[in-house]
């Protein structure tokens, strides 16, 4: 009880704990901190409130409405592009036998007659006849050259070469797979 009312002793104790100037400094720091936080908060509030977001939303809405008036053109243009890319793919993948026909006819030498031909994407079969053995030799040489160049399929088979005494012609069938 006596310690509580003895102001002289308490002041001494206080002096030992924290000085008056330190308290002042601490109070100043606390005030500045609080003030700073308040100012920062108010500032951020104002910055956010002043952001152009609502105006931009309205502008976007207006721009979108304007574009909606061209909706049909928009759809047509997108469809055109879709179709063009689909057509491009189609043209790149569709079988083109014209090149195959060109290649096949390029390897047939003079004097060799094609009696029948069957061409599909991965298969060529043709019946040939000739009276000249030189033409047959030239034909095989030509096929061999093209096969090396990989212009014709490399899997090639031929039937036995038949000879007809009545016509004097050799005939056989050759197949490329």
């Amino acid at each position: 009880m006596s310690a509580d009312i003895n102001l002289s002793i308490r002041k001494k104790q206080e002096k030992g704990f924290i000085t008056s100037s330190q308290v002042h400094k601490l109070r100043l720091v606390a005030l500045i901190f609080l003030f700073g936080v308040a100012v920062l908060s108010a500032g951020l509030f104002l910055i956010i409130a002043a952001s152009p977001l609502p105006q931009l939303r309205e502008e976007e809405q207006r721009a979108s409405e304007t574009l909606k008036s061209q909706q049909s053109k928009f759809g047509k243009y997108l469809l055109l592009r879709e179709q063009l890319s689909a057509i491009q793919v189609l043209l790149n993948t569709r079988p083109d036998l014209r090149k195959t026909i060109e290649v096949v006819f390029a390897i047939i030498p003079q004097g060799l007659q094609v009696s029948g031909i069957e061409i599909s994407e991965k298969h060529i079969s043709m019946g040939v006849s000739t009276a000249s053995l030189d033409a047959i030799s030239s034909f095989f040489q030509s096929i061999q050259d093209r096969a090396v160049q990989k212009v014709v399929p490399t899997s090639i088979s031929t039937s036995s070469i038949g000879y007809s005494a009545s016509t004097g012609e050799y005939s056989f069938t050759i197949t490329f797979d």
Binding site: S41, I48, T66, I87, I101, S120
Partner: protein, 245 residues
């Protein structure tokens, strides 16, 4: 316990400590506490809100620019030309089995090569069939022409430059005739999603070239009755030749 927190007790503490350093320290602590609460509860969320607002502003600005650019781009397009181009690409690769287009293509190729078309029939098939928009559906036909491979080749050449797009899958040449197997393509309607914010770009040079090529392939359709050829037609599949479209 109740007495400890009564108003009188608080008053007693206040009057006891109000002139001491403890009171000042208590108030300072309160200030710091209040400041920290403000910082974490208001300022930091405001910061994150500000960042998200900034991000949204950036996105909106980009979107508006894209929409305005798309509007300008579409305004610059001639709708009549667009309709024409769309008509060409649709004719080239139709969304349904285009029997009329197929017959016109055959008639045109026949007229250009002077090769008479044999009698043929087109099978309509299941018209409610679901067609994929992504993969082409094939419509196959087979003709036997009274010609050699050279004649058939001319026909194939011409057919490859006529719409709708067709492909010859096989050729078989016999003694006096040539069988040609053809296929035409069609596909389902692609799902076109209009995204206003996606920037439209003009056709690439490759696409423009393709479109020009397709325009060239869009030939004038002759009256089918006018088709005449040097070689006599050979019937393959039964059915009368269809009337001109």
């Amino acid at each position: 316990m109740q007495q400890n927190f009564s108003l009188a007790t608080i008053k007693l503490y206040y009057f006891t400590f109000k002139d001491t350093v403890y009171y000042t320290l208590f108030v300072i602590c309160l200030f710091f506490l209040f400041g920290i609460v403000l910082l974490f509860q208001i300022v930091i969320p405001q910061f994150s809100q500000w960042f998200s607002v900034q991000q949204e502003v950036d996105v909106l600005r980009k979107d508006i620019a894209a929409i305005q650019e798309n509007t300008r781009f579409l305004s610059s397009l001639d709708e009549h030309q667009l309709d024409n181009d769309l008509g060409i690409v649709t004719q080239a690769y139709p969304f349904t089995n285009d029997y009329g287009g197929i017959m016109n293509a055959l008639a045109l190729a026949s007229a250009r090569t002077g090769l008479a078309l044999p009698n043929f029939s087109l099978t309509v098939g299941d018209i409610e069939q679901t067609v994929s928009p992504l993969t082409p559906t094939l419509y196959k036909l087979s003709f036997t022409f009274a010609t050699d491979v050279t004649g058939a080749r001319r026909f194939i050449d011409e057919l490859s430059k006529i719409l709708p797009i067709a492909a010859v899958t096989s050729i078989a040449n016999g003694a006096e005739t040539t069988r040609v197997d053809l296929q035409f393509y069609y596909h389902g309607y692609p799902s076109v999603v209009i995204d206003q914010k996606k920037k439209l770009v003009s056709l690439t040079p490759k696409e423009r070239d393709l479109l020009s090529e397709l325009r060239l392939w869009q030939g004038v359709i002759p009256a089918i009755g006018d088709v005449s050829g040097d070689e006599a037609p050979v019937a393959t599949s039964g059915g009368a030749f269809p009337p001109p479209l």
